[in-house]
């Protein structure tokens, strides 16, 4: 009687080994400099496997080739998860592609520490410094730039203006106590204040992460991870604030079993007007309209409120985006391509055609949607930044945060226990 679970496990090992073998091969064969003919071929690894981005990006590569006749760009596209595992294998093999997708944060730092990533601080200074500061943040390591962004986004509250009016809330709350008041008002008006996908855990984590940023300040989550200590008072306080919210029973009925994007999930509850708010990223309006009816003009956006007495401010942002980094020793043409890709002309096209938020401030005129504009306003004003925890932290620590916060929300862990479990997992991850 074979154990399928075990063979599945073995399959992972086998495919990991196979992937490793294959990537070493490509790394050996993929030498970029053409040599005699004078043309340079650069490999560009990205994860834009879906339309319209796939076509738009390929067209941009052709455009760059037309402008630089001696450069050829070879696009290698991979689906998100496949890319992540392949890059992990490549990092341990010691050679990365010329231009590669990065989310910044902990993973990029790991690659930088291994000496595999080109320091772009000086070579991109003239144009790189003009990019949106919040967008550049994930790729700054010890104040040196190791990546150039092409997309940026943030988490905030998406709310139903009509339901807010019904509950007599005149303006979106800016403080945590104001927020709790709004929740109470919505409840007494017979409206479900918040939609939450309890089954998926990560949407619940946003609350804790933002509360921790507000109580401990923007840099605290990163510092706690590096110090492997989340037991400081502000982190416990963050849990206590979340407990206050949970105590008001603000979530939709059966939220513990709800998914995010299904027809009975979090996004649909807001999109169909059944719940007044959700804490979600800039992609929320699209998913709301996809899983539910969508709110159209009734949809609004406000940043996560400040917590009274906390070190953080309302202008500190929790989010992330996408960017490109170069392997150490990549040809000059690769730097030129990054410049081309972060130019106003390219960004206008990206914003218009692929719906990303602009990283070049002047490209914001291409934004048509008022909600996306509202997110952009917040990002422009941002005074601090925390990258999504699953990119900033090792996977096990990120998952433990999700898991512990989910336990807090369902009432089986106390704020102090959340801080302890996360700390314990952070310490286990050498």
């Amino acid at each position: 009687m074979g154990d399928p679970a075990l063979s599945r496990r073995g399959f992972l090992a086998a495919s990991a080994a196979a992937g490793l073998g294959m990537t070493t091969l490509t790394a050996c064969g993929g030498d970029s400099d053409g040599g005699s003919s004078g043309t340079t071929t650069i490999e560009w690894w990205n994860i834009s496997t879906t339309e319209p981005a796939k076509t738009v990006w390929a067209a941009l590569a052709r455009k760059f080739e037309a402008q630089n006749p001696k450069v050829k760009i070879k696009i290698v596209q991979m689906e998100n998860d496949a890319y992540k595992s392949k890059m992990t294998a490549l990092t341990s093999s010691g050679k990365l592609p010329d231009i590669f997708h990065t989310w910044g944060g902990g993973v990029l730092k790991q690659q930088v520490d291994a000496g595999l990533v080109e320091d772009l601080t000086d070579s991109t200074k003239p144009w790189g410094d003009a990019l949106l500061p919040a967008a550049r943040e994930p790729y700054l390591i010890d104040d040196r730039a190791y990546g150039i962004p092409f997309d940026i986004g943030m988490i905030g509250f998406w709310y139903n203006k009509a339901l807010f009016r019904k509950a007599g809330i005149s303006a979106p709350p800016t403080t945590w106590s104001g927020f709790l008041d709004a929740v109470r008002k919505l409840k007494s008006a017979g409206v479900t204040p918040l939609a939450l996908a309890g089954k998926e855990k990560w949407p619940g984590m946003y609350y804790w992460a933002y509360l921790a940023m507000r109580t401990a300040g923007a840099g605290a989550l990163q510092k706690a991870y590096e110090d492997k200590d989340f037991t400081g008072t502000p982190f416990v306080e963050a849990g206590e604030h979340l407990e206050e919210l949970v105590g008001l029973q603000p979530f939709q009925r059966g939220f513990l079993g709800a998914a995010y994007s299904t027809p009975t999930g979090q996004a649909a509850a807001v999109g169909n007007g059944k719940a007044a708010m959700e804490l979600m990223g800039q992609w929320a309006p699209v998913v709301q309209a996809d899983a539910g009816k969508g709110l159209g003009k009734d949809l609004g956006f406000f940043p996560f409120p400040a917590v009274e007495g906390g070190k953080g401010t309302i202008t500190e942002v929790f989010g992330g985006g996408g960017g490109h980094a170069l392997r150490r020793g990549a040809p000059q043409a690769a730097v030129d391509f990054l410049k081309f890709f972060a130019s106003e002309a390219t960004d206008l096209e990206l914003v218009k055609k692929t719906g990303v938020l602009p990283v070049v401030p002047s490209a914001e005129r291409a934004i048509a949607d008022p909600n996306i504009k509202a997110v952009q306003e917040q990002l422009k004003k941002s005074t601090g930044f925390q990258l999504y925890l699953d990119q900033a932290y090792a996977p096990a620590v990120g998952q433990e945060v999700n898991d512990s916060v989910a336990a807090l929300i369902s009432g089986s862990k106390s704020p102090a226990q959340v801080a302890q479990s996360v700390t314990r997992t952070a310490r286990e991850e050498q």
Partner: protein, 332 residues
């Protein structure tokens, strides 16, 4: 067993081309060697695949269970039995074991008797018998993932089919949060499992019932046995081999339960429906603590193995001996 079922070279399908160069029949020893070689030749591809894709990965998982390993490169950080001590202090894993036991007990106490009752019922002469049999067996054919998505929708609180129907017939009180509530999630899950698997066990029992000789039941009838007595003293004992196999499959299935749970609840809310396989998946593929996940898979394998061996040794022994009388004295 290798040489016995091979066709004789002179009479079997291979007889078209008798060895023409040899004037005399090959010696007995030679023939045996040849047979042996043929057997090895035929088995080699399967054997290589089995060793490479089943045996080696299993051994590798056992090896990896003693390391702290992220799943990439080779494991190098040896931690001894740490993964296992951590496992047996992990409240979630201990809960997995408990939930596994609950599912086994529920399956044996509710699902299998229900399947048996249906089988006995559908073994009677009745109109539309084949239709009922097909209907009850149909859920088993459905994939676990589809079943999960389907019941996720049916049991969605308020909007779901289940709550809507209960509301329409004035039984709102019976509705609830199903998968979304820690206290009801296991019951809901078991309901879906029963829906999905009872038809399979029912089919097994039906096949077993067909093999019960009519003369015996008739003899019992003539002796004055009532229906209940006939069932207990004639049908049930003759059905015992089928029952034993069905119990075995049910228990192994409960130990390895994954797909249905992953799709409906992902182990939630708050680990209240998590199984060993789900915990293993979480650690292996979400947290990339592959060493720890390997330790879970090793324990799962151990439990399955111990159960399978003990069950075969103590419960299935008579059936196995009956089925393969020629093997007696070969093993053990």
């Amino acid at each position: 067993m290798t040489s016995t079922f091979l066709p004789d070279k002179r009479t079997g399908p291979g007889a078209v081309l008798p060895p023409p160069a040899e004037g005399r029949a090959p010696s007995r020893a030679r023939r045996r060697a040849l047979n042996w070689l043929t057997a090895v030749g035929f088995q080699l591809p399967a054997l290589v695949l089995f060793i490479g894709l089943v045996l080696l990965p299993m051994l590798f998982a056992l090896y990896a269970a003693f390391f702290r390993w992220g799943g990439f490169g080779m494991p190098s950080d040896y931690v001894g039995g740490e993964n296992f001590t951590r496992l047996f202090q992990d409240a979630v894993f201990l809960g997995d074991l408990w939930r596994c036991l609950v599912l086994v007990v529920l399956s044996l106490a509710v699902q299998l008797p229900f399947a048996l009752a249906m089988a006995v019922l559908l073994n009677q002469r009745m109109r539309g018998r084949a239709v009922y049999r097909m209907l009850f067996f149909a859920p088993y054919v459905l994939s676990e993932a589809i079943t999960g998505i389907l019941f996720g929708m049916i049991f969605a609180p308020d909007d779901g089919f289940a709550d809507q129907i209960l509301g329409k017939v004035g039984l709102e009180g019976l509705g609830g949060q199903w998968f979304a509530e820690p206290s009801t999630v296991m019951a809901t899950l078991f309901l879906v499992m029963t829906w999905k698997y009872f038809g399979f066990h029912m089919m097994l029992y039906l096949a077993g019932l067909q093999a019960v000789p009519r003369e015996l039941t008739e003899a019992a009838l003539i002796d004055g046995a009532g229906p209940w007595q006939r069932f207990c003293s004639v049908t049930l004992p003759l059905l015992a081999p089928t029952l034993r196999i069905s119990v075995f499959l049910s228990v192994i299935g409960a130990i390895q339960l994954f797909d249905l749970v992953w799709v409906t609840t992902a182990g939630g809310p708050d680990h209240h429906s998590e199984t060993m396989a789900v915990t293993m998946f979480q650690y292996g593929f979400k947290r990339y603590q592959v060493g720890y996940a390997s330790a879970i898979s090793v324990v799962m394998f151990g439990i399955s193995l111990v159960f399978a061996l003990a069950y075969q040794r103590f419960v299935l022994r008579r059936d196995l001996e009956g089925a393969t009388t020629t093997m007696r004295g070969d093993g053990k």
